[in-house]
Amino acid sequence: MSSGTYRPEPLLPLTYCQSEPHPPAPPPLVDRGCFNWLRRNLFPNWRQSLLSILIFSLLAGTAWHLARFLLVDAVWWGDTGEACRPSDGRPVGACWAFIADRYKYFIYGSYPLDQRWRVNTFFIAGGLGLAYLLWPRAPFRRLGLTLVIVALPLTGFIFLSGWDAVGLPDVPTNLWGGLMVTIVVAAVGIATALPVGILLALGRRSHLVIVRWLSIGLIELPRGVPLVTVLFMANTMLPLFLPTGLNPDKLVRALVGITFFAAAYLAEIIRGGLQAIPRGQYEAASALGLGYWKTMVLIILPQALKVAVPNIVSINIGLFKDTSLLLIVGIFDFLSTIETARIDPRWAAPTISTTGYAFAAVVYFSFCFGMSRYGALIERRLSRDHGR
């Protein structure tokens, strides 16, 4: 606040004519030092400083407890639960020896040992696909995107379940388990839910009454019941709708359920995106002579999906986490393998459960956070590509 008495500014003349333009000037310098940043943002006045210090000490306390449990007191080596049982009063933290011992089970479940190269191949292909998605100036972008997001999970599924014609022995899905099931289900779910969701969204806006009603039904039904119910229904009712003799695999049934559940939510999100497209875009496309599908694929959907990207990513993150419900219909996803392993008497020790859940949390978080970052990357790319 300025002190002193108020002095009016000198008055400007009523008329004015510029004789010489002002030369352009560089922007004024702003302090950018680390110290200045701290002072401006964390310690601008004593009240805020107190709050900052309080919060920091709470955070530091929590971090210390976590670090002690997860790192300092952790047990890293050992073959049985014996290693993780507290002896002579020594505190015992996380039992990483348990994770190290059972990690293969957490990844492959009971997938036959001599066939695990298939899972590894699938993971490597997925890794390459991801690298391609992250590659900023990748060639054949549109084709590549479809291949990685849609074709890879579907071929991966066939590759893992086996195909006698090409000499890949069948591996029944009740042997699948662990992280691989979680990843396969999430990937196939995303791969199928996105196209289905787009079709449902378009269907709901269709002028054909039958198509519209059908889409509304397929959207509102899964949205109106919990995923658990959808999974049970898919499990018990799907065979009833299909011709007799065609009894789809349990995992496939669950996948159909998950797909429709996610697709229903995606459809509504995409419909929101579609509604954001002004009518002029349809009219301009029509004036150029584009038909319905060309208008949708080339003009409307690219813009609608761009608006919907953050929400689409959220739904896909949700889908990834919802795979843990597969346990209910008897499919061994990642979380179920941890559940099974932690009650294994060979590894009976007080911190086994906590360790298992901590590990699960870290794994789930890395995947979900990765997806979230990828979504942010897409958003940035789209806004840069469109010149805004």
């Binding site: 002029g280 002579g289 080339l298 003009i299 469109h386």
Partner: protein
Amino acid sequence: MAVTKTPIPANSFAVQVRELSKWFGNFQVLNRIDLDISVGEKVVICGPSGSGKSTLIRCINQLEPFESGRLHVHGVEMSGARKDVQMVKQQIGMVFQHFNLFPHLSVMENCVLGPMTVRGLSRRQAEDVADHYLARVRISEQASKFPGQLSGGQQQRVAIARALCMEPKILLFDEPTSALDPEMVKEILDTMTDLARDGITMICVTHEMGFARQVADRVIFMDKGQIVEVNRPDVFFKIQSNERTRQFLANLVR
């Protein structure tokens, strides 16, 4: 796909409208419109807001359906066989008040989209065509930019180029300058005046009476969904036979 062009039939009318009526619900927007526009003619449509000007040219372009009456474009009945209609529709270009460029595509992509997907040109050919028309509207240097990076006047010139890339025989303009700042109005009108020298048929909804005087072969005045007066511009601006036309022109400050 081969590049196909339907020859213009011997009939020398670009557009023939007979007894065309259209309703929005119970409200009659167009009331028994009769209109003949010759090939190569430049026509300006004016009239008070809500008189149905946009609706009329949107009917010509099949953006709006109409309930009764007949519409022929280059001799083809527009409610007839779908294939013929699709073919004729390709020959009608349209420029909108709000440009309606595709914001997710660059200027060049905006221009090659139609030629590639509808006319079946290769990308190479389409880009040649686009280069030609972007130069024609004097905007070649912006080809790689996105619509959001251009001024209104530049966007409208791109929109004109995009329409021209379809090599239409008829070009419809729906108030192409009314969303623009005064400085840009002139650049668009100049572009349109330049286009008018070609043989293309132009139907413009506009209130730029200077443009009408200079370019139009005929001026059409519409009110309440009806064509009230049609005349050559020199006559139209001197003596109006209809009272409503006179009032309308008196209220225009130009």
